[in-house]
């Protein structure tokens, strides 16, 4: 009985997770004329939708580049700022630590819609609308608390004796951090980088608010706003193809590093 239920339930769960994604891939490989087919495999299959995504004046390639810049810069900035804070929270002894950590963690409750109103006006005043920084800076509001939280958990897991030994040998706390802790924490920092990148890459609300110029939109926004050639028909085939292009690199990265990502996500939730 037990032997029977486990594989079956596993298949059910995997199907639940993957079936919609599979349908996205299948639909993207159909010809426009057979887009309403329901066959589980596209026949005949065609790359028509992919050609439509990449040529034509929809600016998809440029949008991919924009997404890469915004998510990449967000990740780098988040790590630079977050690593030092997480080190302090994990390894140093100081007053108000509990309060500071609570403050940083509680900012993850913050609704982005509340951010949009004031920042939209501020960015209009200082001429930041349609710029990368108008997307990167608000992204920090959710990326940074998450990264600090994750990194703090990672730093705590490193043995404290190493650092103490370094300090006994004459290192300052700062040197101990640079020469001992940071190299050891590299896997944790790397995991946090991937998680931050994925979340920044997935961001939609800020990107759709701060940018209205076609050439500055991120991939998510531009795909959601694709218009068909025939008036009001939503070009689902093209959108599915674009969705596959946006998603597949991410899915591959995530699958390659799945063990670490799961460890990072769950330790953030459990610790």
């Amino acid at each position: 009985m037990k032997r029977l239920t486990s594989p079956l339930s596993l298949i059910a769960v995997v199907a639940f997770c993957l079936a919609p994604f599979y349908w996205m891939i299948v639909s993207s490989l159909r010809r426009t004329n057979d887009i309403l087919d329901k066959s589980p495999l596209p026949s005949p299959w065609s790359l028509e939708n992919y050609r439509a995504v990449f040529d034509g004046g929809n600016g998809f390639v440029r949008a991919l580049g924009n997404s890469l810049v915004v998510a990449g810069v967000t990740t780098v900035l988040t790590l630079i700022v977050g690593v030092s804070a997480a080190y302090a929270l994990a390894r140093l002894d100081f007053r108000f630590k509990r309060l500071v950590l609570a403050l940083i963690v509680s900012t993850s409750m913050f609704p982005v819609s509340l951010l949009i109103v004031p920042l939209l006006r501020l960015f209009t005043d200082i001429g930041w609308i349609n710029s990368y920084q108008a997307m990167v800076v608000p992204n920090l509001s959710f990326a940074l608390p998450l990264a600090v939280w994750n990194l703090t958990v990672f730093f705590r897991q490193l043995p404290f004796e190493l650092e103490q030994a370094a300090m006994v040998d004459g290192c300052t706390a700062g040197q101990a951090f640079r020469k001992v802790i940071l190299p050891l924490a590299a896997p944790g920092v790397f995991t946090t980088a991937i998680i931050t990148f994925v979340i920044a890459w997935n961001e939609y609300m800020i990107a759709v608010s701060m940018v209205n110029e076609q050439s500055m939109k991120t991939a998510n926004v531009i795909v959601a706003q694709f218009t068909g050639q025939h008036g009001f028909d939503q070009p689902f085939g093209t959108q599915m193809a674009a969705g596959v292009v946006v998603t597949v690199p991410l899915v591959i990265v995530v699958l390659v590093f799945q063990r670490r990502i799961v460890a990072g996500l769950t330790s953030g939730g459990l610790k």
Partner: protein, 336 residues
């Protein structure tokens, strides 16, 4: 050593580094509440301040400043008026709590209350569905030893797909000629502005996040020692009793954290209804969408009032949740 947390506070399964188990090394278990003599705490305090200041500065700019401006905005009204010469001037006047009062009266009031209802409805339904489904999935996976890597991989796929893209995917699945209607053999207008749209949003959101809840719960399940189950079995407990008296209490901390995260996320829901159904659709409009729409139409006062109302609602929900269920979110983070 102040390990207030139970076993669940230890490292998550799959984390490479050793769990902070066993006797604490010297200088490790400082509660930070000052009972211990603070020999080098002063020097560390200064270093900590230096290390923390960039993060606090950034959060000040992207969180504290917007809150302050939003509060100011919410207390003012911008309107176009005619001055003495009959010219149109744009004026911003202090109007006190009028923007907040307007949330509850007139046509705008109906829209706000509807969005408040939608937000609450989505939060309750998606969190309940995702928790039950996630818990069930985690329990199944916990027993399936061979396929766990496959499970983990497939669970991460919905997580990695951008929400906006997944909402498009569901819009395609739920379109009038889409595969959902073909499978059901019905003609439901899912993405029109009706009751079916609510369920489309709920399904899309559940698909995206239930696997994630399962992942968190699975990590919690994996740290329950097998001996506890063996002891219970020796004592003659059946499967249901074992689940009810061992699994559930021991996985509760992990489960509560997962539910808390999901709840706070659902209250802010924006991408799914926005892309799957659209803007200004009363059937699905959430508070985030309403605030966003008002801001896009340059009605900053009402937008700010609505966003602050949502913020207060989230704080209240988190507070009630922690009080009622005793989810030790921050304390857990502080337990070293």
């Amino acid at each position: 050593m102040t390990h207030t947390s139970t076993g669940a506070g230890r490292t998550a399964a799959g984390t490479p580094a050793a769990a902070p188990a066993g006797p604490a090394p010297v200088g490790r278990g400082r509660p930070g509440r000052g009972r211990r003599p603070r020999g080098r705490a002063d020097g560390q305090g200064r270093l900590a301040a230096a290390l923390l200041s960039p993060t606090l500065a950034v959060l000040g700019v992207v969180i504290a400043f917007p809150i302050a401006v939003a509060i100011w905005d919410s207390l003012h009204t911008t309107s176009e008026e005619l001055d003495a010469d009959g010219l149109v001037v744009e004026g911003t006047r202090f109007t006190g709590l009028r923007n907040y009062a307007d949330l509850f009266r007139g046509e705008a009031g109906d829209r706000f209350l509807n969005a408040l209802w939608n937000t609450s409805f989505f939060t309750v339904t998606t969190v309940v569905l995702e928790t039950l489904l996630g818990l069930g999935m985690a329990l199944l996976m916990h027993r399936a030893f061979r396929g766990r890597a496959l499970f983990r991989a497939s669970v991460l796929v919905p997580w990695a797909i951008p929400t906006a893209i997944s909402a498009l995917l569901w819009r395609w699945i739920f379109s009038a000629d889409g595969v959902a209607n073909a499978v059901l053999g019905r003609e439901v207008l899912w993405t029109a502005d009706g009751a079916a749209a609510k369920w489309a949003v709920i399904l899309a959101d559940t698909w995206k996040t239930a696997p994630f809840v399962a992942l968190l719960v699975l990590a919690g399940l994996q740290i329950i020692p097998a001996e506890v189950y063996e002891a219970a079995r020796v004592d003659g407990a059946n499967a249901w009793q074992r689940f009810w008296s061992i699994t559930l209490p021991m996985v509760k901390p992990a489960l509560l954290v997962a539910v808390m995260f999901r709840m706070l996320d659902s209250l802010r829901m924006f991408d799914v209804p926005q892309v799957l159904i659209g803007t200004r659709k009363p059937a699905v409009e959430t508070l985030s969408q309403l605030a966003w729409d008002e801001a896009m139409n340059l009605r900053f006062g009402p937008a700010a009032a609505c966003a602050i109302a949502l913020f207060l609602y989230i704080i209240l929900a988190a507070y009630v949740f922690v009080r009622l269920l005793g989810a030790d979110i921050i304390g857990r983070g502080n337990a070293r």
